[in-house]
Point group: C2
Chain length 196, copies 2
């Protein structure tokens, strides 16, 4: 068997998700994941530090895309336009991965400790976007507020994308959620019964 295995990362990820869904994250060993994928433990550890990393790998790449997109955006963009551009820029990473994302979401939703890890991931995302905004001259606290709004937007759009069988793709859901976010700030129409 050669050291190089075709699609080893994808096979390991798919096998891990299947097993996590079948028997719960805590019950599964790396040996079982490798076995299900038809690979060795040694190959597993060439791609992932541990089984949790199967769920959280790739975050650095997303942070780089956020930062590079904000750096490269036109000078006329408002802070929220910069944030929207950053969120949209990562969506191609998830093309063809809706099923996998759905499985990942189900695994994490069933496990409080993994949810905490997901909160940390979101905090890192907001911190990276805020830093990129400050680099563009956006002052605080606007940079942090816009970045946090972006992190919430992404979480909300993402949750809908993986749980809702509707026709909207991830970029459409991101745009819709940003619109809903902006609507929060708008004064309510005077005609609405009860609300202003």
């Amino acid at each position: 068997m050669s050291r190089w295995e075709p699609n080893a990362r994808e096979r390991l990820t798919g096998a891990a998700m299947e097993l996590f869904r079948e028997r719960g994250f805590d019950q599964i060993t790396v040996a079982e994941i490798a076995d299900r994928a038809g690979l060795t433990e040694r190959t597993f550890f060439r791609y992932f530090a541990d089984k949790r990393e199967v769920l959280f790998a790739g975050q650095e790449r997303l942070l780089e895309i956020y930062t590079a997109t904000i750096d490269a955006a036109p000078g006329t963009a408002t802070p929220m336009e910069l944030v929207e551009a950053a969120l949209l820029a990562v969506t191609p990473v998830f093309d063809q991965r809706r099923d996998l994302s759905r499985q990942r979401h189900a695994v994490i939703s069933a496990h409080p400790e993994l949810q905490e890890r997901e909160l940390l991931k979101r905090a890192s995302m907001a911190a990276a976007i805020a830093a990129a905004l400050r680099q563009r001259g956006v002052p605080e606290p606007t940079a942090s507020l816009a970045a946090e709004a972006g992190a919430i937007t992404f979480k909300t759009a993402w949750s809908r994308w993986v749980t809702d069988p509707g026709p909207l793709d991830l970029p459409q859901l991101i745009r819709e959620t940003i619109g809903q976010f902006h609507a929060l700030a708008a004064p309510a129409p005077a005609s609405a019964a009860g609300h202003r």
Copy 2:
């Protein structure tokens, strides 16, 4: 010595903050906290389950205030007005506690594990506010977005309150931060050179 000690909770909290600042959270034992406060370990455990609870106690009370405030607000309030009312309603809890809050902030900022706990606290806060908004008939995802916006607003205003020696009190900082949040949604003025 009677079982009842005057201001035992405050004395234990003050002693714990002093010790955490002096030698770091991880180095301090409950016995040392009790000793510094002139109380027994047994008294400590009457108030707190462990030393971490000294930093995070009281959260349930805040969640109750958020929920009760949103329940009792006038029917004409918009979602963000409900959130603002909830945030302002907890500020009296912190009157006279700025020094203690400042110390707490310094302890948590120096300790990644405590920061994770703080993220969880913020997630619970957002969840409680979102639930209260849904109870008022605010639909999703607006309820969750408004609640998350509230959690970010509180975090931002709070951080400024404990780190910034400026003249604004916590309610003023909350109102100002909500204004900055709303400004994120505003279209950029055409006159601004490049950035707004």
